[in-house]
């Protein structure tokens, strides 16, 4: 089973939904199909880290408040990584 990002106690459910939609749209997060391989780290956590690196945020892999604040900022609709 893939491990979801470590959800901070305060991480609201909708933070994860917002983050998933954001990472799908701008960081090419794909939902793994077929049998879920046993992975050390979930694709979602990898993409959270990739997004944090892109924006120069602390790379935690968690949906901390700074990361959620950045995800909620008005922005351009073009993806940040090549599609």
């Amino acid at each position: 089973a893939c491990s979801l990002p470590i959800a901070l106690p305060s991480t609201a459910k909708n933070d994860e939904e917002v983050a998933e939609a954001y990472l799908k749209r701008f960081f090419n997060l794909t939902t793994p199909e077929g049998p879920i391989q046993r992975r050390r780290i979930s694709p979602m956590t990898e993409k959270v880290r990739e997004m944090q690196r892109f924006f120069g945020l602390k790379v935690t892999g968690t949906l901390d408040s700074d990361t959620m604040q950045m995800m909620n900022k008005p922005r351009c609709g073009v993806p940040d990584v090549a599609q």
Binding site: F26, F54, F55, G56, L57, K58, V59, D66, M70, K73, P74, R75, C76, G77, V78, D80, A82
Partner: protein, 372 residues
């Protein structure tokens, strides 16, 4: 900066554009002017030239639409995604779409159409997003005054990588006056405008930007000041965190703003005379709260004031000469902060560390806290 895969670009330098429809938010001529100026941002630094057409298919088709608007990338209502554009190619390539659910303006309210369009046209010409928080091609919107807008150097380098410089300027030699650059934390000559602690973080200001240095990690974030605090001016003079009031005070000229955590405190800016400083003090160069004496220290020119927040008065015997209180730092201080009992004074590219008895301990580079 970054370009699209394969560095795709237009195989020609004369491009056409057509405005297919208008937003009702702005007068037609204001939309025309904003879009034209946004294209000129790129024409100014490259051989690219833009001609408007009023019918048929242009290289860059410009339109306003909401929600599902004819491509596979529906907009999302107010805020969130503001616009998007397609990389150079036939058909939809180069086209720019603006989300009609946004409020576009010519000023600072809503989203400034010139700024959004200049960014989107960067995509239309072949640029992807930049990680430089000061670049026009940074994905997140931040307002800057369009009248003083100057294409940042990061964007100039990107677009000239694709198309070369403007042959009509200096015979095509690289522009001797490069665009504004984002302060580089690892520049050994870096000097600061202001520095403060903020609930365990260190905040170091330079120009339109600041760095956040986290004590428990070597990582440092850089952001535009207006990304967090649109109300604050750029080029802050001084800042300090008051342990008395749990506020951070920021100074520019004879005005002071206040933060509570990361939130701006309403009712500011105020005049620094409300602090009880003498009228002769018209600007503060640096400020720090001294835990040892429980006083705020204000540096102005070659003098230092010790200020008691409780009585809102300058202490007897002040001002004093800086070099009498903090020997070795010289005749001016750009910024100051205190951390774990040590006082750090910045002057140009150097920072001096003092013990709580104000004995000079070390001379360090100004970027010491910036994780280089």
């Amino acid at each position: 900066y970054s370009t699209f895969q394969g560095n795709i670009k237009w195989p020609k330098t004369s491009l056409t554009y057509r405005i297919e429809n208008y937003t009702p938010d702005m007068a037609v001529q204001d939309v025309d002017r904003a879009l034209e100026r946004a294209l000129q941002v790129w024409a100014k630094v490259t051989p690219l030239r833009f001609t408007r057409i009023y019918s048929g298919t242009a290289d860059i088709m410009i339109s306003f639409g909401a929600g599902v608007h004819g491509d596979y990338y529906p907009f999302d209502g107010p805020d969130g995604t503001l616009a998007h554009a397609f990389a150079p190619s036939e058909g939809i390539g180069g086209d720019a779409h603006f989300d009609e659910d946004e409020t576009f303006t010519s000023g600072s309210m809503g989203y400034n159409l010139f700024l959004v369009a200049a960014h989107e046209f960067g995509h239309s010409l072949g640029l992807s997003h930049s990680t430089d928080p000061g670049a026009l091609m940074f994905p997140v919107y931040s307002y800057v005054d369009p009248d003083t807008f100057s294409l940042p150097q990061d964007d100039i380098k990107g677009i000239q990588f694709l198309y070369g410089p403007n042959p009509d300027v200096d015979g095509g030699n690289p522009d001797p006056n490069p665009g504004p650059t984002t302060p580089n934390a690892c520049d050994p000559r870096l000097s600061l405008d202001a520095a403060t602690t903020l609930r365990g973080e260190k905040i170091l200001f330079k120009g339109s930007f600041f760095w956040r240095s986290f004590s428990q990690s070597s990582q440092v974030e850089q952001h535009r000041i207006k990304y967090f605090w649109p109300e604050l001016p750029d080029n802050i003079d001084a800042a300090y965190e008051s342990l008395e009031s749990d506020r951070v005070y920021l100074f520019k000229g004879n005005q002071v703003w206040a933060l509570f955590g990361y939130d701006i405190v309403q009712g500011y800016p105020k005049s620094i005379t409300t602090l009880g400083l003498p009228r002769s003090v018209t600007k503060i160069d640096a400020a720090v709260y001294d835990e040892q004496s429980r006083k705020a220290l204000f540096f102005t020119g070659n003098q230092i004031y010790s200020y008691d927040e409780a009585t809102r008065k300058v202490d007897q015997g002040f001002p004093k000469s800086i070099k009498d209180v903090f020997p070795g730092i010289g005749n001016k201080v750009d910024a100051a902060l205190q951390d774990r009992g040590f006082t750090y004074l910045f002057n140009g590219q150097y920072m001096m560390e003092y013990s709580y008895t104000r004995r000079a301990l070390r001379v360090l580079y100004t970027n010491y806290f910036l994780g280089c």
